[in-house]
Symmetry: C2
Subunit: 215 residues, 2 copies
């Protein structure tokens, strides 16, 4: 990206990650290490040459590293460095601000279930969940498995099904799953809930998301 040429902390950050697509690449890599093809499917619409350019630029800036994967995969994996992982706060704040826009639904937008893993922790940031923890929620958003771990001071999200048994299972479209987590009226009817329904309801009641889906 063309530098803003300003001696300002925010502008310096945007010099590195302010390019179109750059922060969304970081979003994907925050959830898991990715191959080139994984990034393509997680970033629907990106041109391959742009993805190549961005990966090179972010590698040059020390945000991510190319990593030769062991024999079973036998290809290059892209992985965030510590410096890149430090962008988690930026993505979280963006997601927090953007959640208000999610109420209007997906409309024509592409939906990937794994994006819930970014939004879910954000919707409960600062919430007091001590009375609920420990709690394991197994999500199935648009067919993608995500495990939410409710801890006293927040929620952690990981891709994949939980290793042990889950207290609640919540499945449905991304909109239904998010709405249910936020306790939006009517949302629970759109999703499929199994297990400790009541714990899920108490969790939703403690959401700190700013507006929007909670209607």
């Amino acid at each position: 990206m063309r530098s803003y040429g300003q001696y300002c902390a925010a502008a310096r950050a945007l010099d590195v990650v302010g390019d179109r697509w750059s922060l969304l690449i970081v979003r994907e890599l925050l959830l898991r290490d990715c191959r080139f093809a994984d990034l393509r499917t997680g970033l629907p619409g990106i041109a391959t040459n742009l993805l190549t350019d961005r990966l090179r630029a972010l590698e040059g800036a020390g945000v991510l590293e190319r990593h030769a994967a062991p024999p079973p995969v036998a290809t290059v994996l892209y992985r965030l460095t510590d410096r890149g992982r430090a962008l988690e706060g930026v993505l979280a704040e963006l997601a927090l601000w953007g959640v208000a826009d999610m109420a209007r639904g997906a409309e024509g937008d592409v939906v990937c279930g794994h994006w819930v893993a970014l939004a879910a922790p954000v919707m409960f940031r600062g919430a007091d969940l001590a009375a609920l923890a420990p709690l394991t929620v197994a999500l199935d958003a648009e067919g993608t498995a995500i495990t939410l771990t409710v801890e006293p001071d927040g929620i952690r999200a990981a891709l994949g099904a939980p290793e042990g048994p889950a207290d609640v299972h919540l499945a449905g479209t991304m909109h239904a799953v998010m709405g249910t987590l936020l306790g939006a009226p009517g949302a629970e009817g759109l999703a499929q809930v199994d297990g400790d329904r009541e714990a899920l309801r108490r969790l939703a009641a403690r959401s700190t998301a700013p507006l929007g889906l909670r209607g």
Copy 2:
């Protein structure tokens, strides 16, 4: 901006503020309401047509409002809405991440003293300042007056000189001022300090900034 077309909270946010310059416009307006010309000087390098475009887009997105200023000014002021002010967290996280880049100095970059008002609170986020508060620091960064108010759980920054007397006065280039606030070795010699030098030193010792300037 062309929409990413993704039903993801972060992508939805970037649909609104992901354009070049957009977040920097918000940065300026977080510090004060601005006229068109104020924005131009606070955003060195922006083309006037782009500024016009961005202002219209952000107004349409509900991020800012045009506001007819009373007779003494007699022009339009641009002001953030509540929705726009909610972007403070995004700017703060960006600044936090970008502070690490400030160590290499301004090089050829334009410097505006008022940008310190964004960085200063960020450099002490989460710090325990109870032993220091209340403390008022009068900054003069590149000739721009900024008031830092040290409170038990963090620092607030405002443009302009303090209303009452300040405990410490700190003046110098932006690099020197930031370095002194962070306790970078040698930085204090580059800045001019008057008043409670020791309080300033104790403040610097509690900075939570992640690296960089602290050397």
